[in-house]
């Protein structure tokens, strides 16, 4: 694909893959990301940011950020990938290029703990309320354990007499 050649000329391209006719993956470094996004937006017609996603590669100690762009004219998607250090997950915001990136970054900050410098709203709670553990979408967060600790053991599959069960619990509470 020609667009890959043009990208290779201008930026450092770490990896590339043509998944379908209309979907290309390009990997780059953190420094090159914003120039590349701006270039894609201004000169290649990838005007729209579809989404930002984050993948936790815990074995390699990395977070992968995927920026998914869409070109309305060429009808093509390009996904720009960048890897950042998992220990110090700091990155730059792109909300000045696309306004909706602000909310995506806010969500990633909440779910993965990635810090986007310059994002005005990233500290605010978007989805979770009063969260008291490590960010839940990280691979080392065990949701089953957390659920059992916080919400109690999973109740038995058949709770035939729920009414009696609860009234027994009342009595137990009173005896205490």
């Amino acid at each position: 694909m020609e667009i890959l050649e043009r990208l290779r000329e201008r930026f450092e391209v770490l990896e590339e893959k043509v998944q379908r006719d209309d979907l290309i993956f390009v990997g780059t470094t953190g420094k090159n990301l914003i120039p590349m996004l701006v270039y894609l937006k201004e000169y290649e017609g990838f005007k729209t940011l579809v989404m930002i996603s984050c993948v936790d590669w815990i074995e390699e100690g990395k977070f992968q950020l995927s920026y998914n762009l869409w070109a309305p004219k060429q009808k093509k998607n390009i996904i720009v990938k960048v890897f950042i250090d998992r220990k110090q997950p700091n990155f730059t915001t792109i909300y000045r290029i696309w306004p909706q990136a602000e909310v995506y970054e806010r969500e990633i900050h909440e779910m993965f703990g990635v810090n986007f410098e310059g994002n005005p709203t990233q500290g605010e709670e978007l989805i979770l309320e009063d969260w008291d553990d490590i960010p839940p979408m990280r691979r080392d967060f065990d949701t089953l354990k957390y659920s059992m600790e916080k919400f109690g053991e999973r109740a038995p599959k058949s709770r035939i007499n729920i009414r009696r069960e609860i009234s027994e619990q009342y009595d137990e509470w009173r005896r205490k």
Partner: protein, 367 residues
């Protein structure tokens, strides 16, 4: 916030919001000066739960991501897995899938058509719309066994073949709905009060469409012919004969017109599909799904839901569970970025029509 402004929460317990979400607004008189969307009331952590489950066990989960229109999710996820796993599905499966997708689009649009009237207090078409939608749900029940959640589209095809005589019954329901639609038009489209309220309401600047990534009926109401069915054809859509519907006007009235014409289009497409339904197998055998490993790779598949472009970003690391599934619903942009900007300067009375026009669906924002 000055002292003259009143802070008001519209939702989550409020009859006018489109689900369990809330919009916080500052009011000056009757005019909104600032708005903020609060989500997270329905967050179940689907993406985390899918990482703990083998691929086939994720299918009961994905259909619950968008409650009123679950089939898009199943189809998207199945298509992503087929692409990563290198499975080709037979022709008939593609056509059945398209039929299911169009039926589910149609029921959503009919419910929406009543809903936009309901958001302004016209309760008669709401009742009609939900009542008529039930005939399509009956078809779904016959086909899949479930009214709302179908879990019908699986990797490798669909779960079961069409029952005997199903096509005729679909056509019958289509005729019935087509007979009923003029009544709806009379009470909604030709209603002077509806026109007075919707024309010019929530006008979206055209440059926002590309900048914010608006899709679906919202983009099409601004004159941009963005339709995933045409732009990136999937399943049986490349063989179907249809045009992308666009309207000029960028306001709530244009969105209403787009969706009204989409109903006709859906009925038309369903007739085409039933006309040209090929024979043959409806699924290909999969490897043992309990030990099904998908080679490493990542992909992004998308399809056209009623609200816009619905996308699944699936990353596989070669194990029997996905490394990451990111569900990107159109409401994420429409309901947060666009809604917050669009509400500023509007009347408090127009919050519900605007939200319904953008068709925000809370469960797909927060998954």
């Amino acid at each position: 916030m000055s002292k003259k402004e009143v802070r008001l929460f519209i939702g989550p317990q409020h009859p006018g919001v489109t689900g369990n979400m809330s919009v916080e607004v500052l009011l000056k008189g009757d005019t909104i000066t600032w708005a903020k969307t609060h989500i997270g009331y329905l967050h179940r952590g689907f993406e985390k739960l899918m990482e703990r489950r083998i691929y086939i066990k994720s299918f009961p989960l994905v259909c619950r991501i968008c409650v009123p229109e679950p089939d898009t999710n199943e189809e998207n996820f199945a298509r992503a897995l087929e692409e990563l796993g290198g499975i080709d599905i037979p022709e008939r499966a593609k056509w059945i899938r398209t039929l299911v997708l169009e039926l589910s689009r149609l029921q959503m649009f009919i419910m929406w058509y009543g809903g936009i009237a309901g958001s302004m207090g016209l309760s008669t078409p709401v009742q009609w719309g939900i009542g008529d939608r039930d005939y399509i749900l009956d078809l779904f029940e016959e086909l899949t066994g479930g009214r709302i959640y179908h879990i019908y589209i699986m990797p490798g095809g669909v779960r079961k073949d069409l029952p005997e005589g199903f096509e005729e019954r679909v056509l019958k329901v289509m005729d019935m709905i087509e007979r009923r639609l003029p009544e709806y038009d009379e009470i909604i489209m030709e209603n002077a009060v509806v026109q007075k309220r919707l024309k010019g309401l929530a006008r979206i600047p055209k440059e926002w469409v590309d900048e914010m990534g608006l899709t679906g009926p919202v983009a099409r109401a601004c004159g941009f012919p963005y339709d995933v069915r045409k732009d990136h054809p999937y399943e049986a859509y490349p063989y179907l004969d249809f045009d992308v519907i666009t309207e000029e006007g960028c306001d709530a009235w244009a969105m209403l017109l787009v969706r009204r014409r989409e109903i006709d289009l859906s009925i038309n497409l369903i007739r085409q599909i039933i006309d040209r339904m090929p024979g043959g197998e409806f699924q290909v055998p999969l490897p043992n799904v309990l030990y099904w490993r998908i080679p490493p790779g990542e992909t992004y598949v998308k399809s056209e839901a009623t609200r816009g472009e619905f996308g699944y970003y699936v990353v596989s690391d070669g194990s029997d569970k996905p490394r990451r599934v990111h569900v990107n619903g159109p409401s994420f942009v429409h309901g947060i970025t666009l809604l917050e900007r669009l509400l500023v300067g509007q009347n408090i009375a127009d919050v519900a029509p605007i939200m319904v026009s953008l068709q925000t669906c809370p469960p797909e924002m927060e998954r």
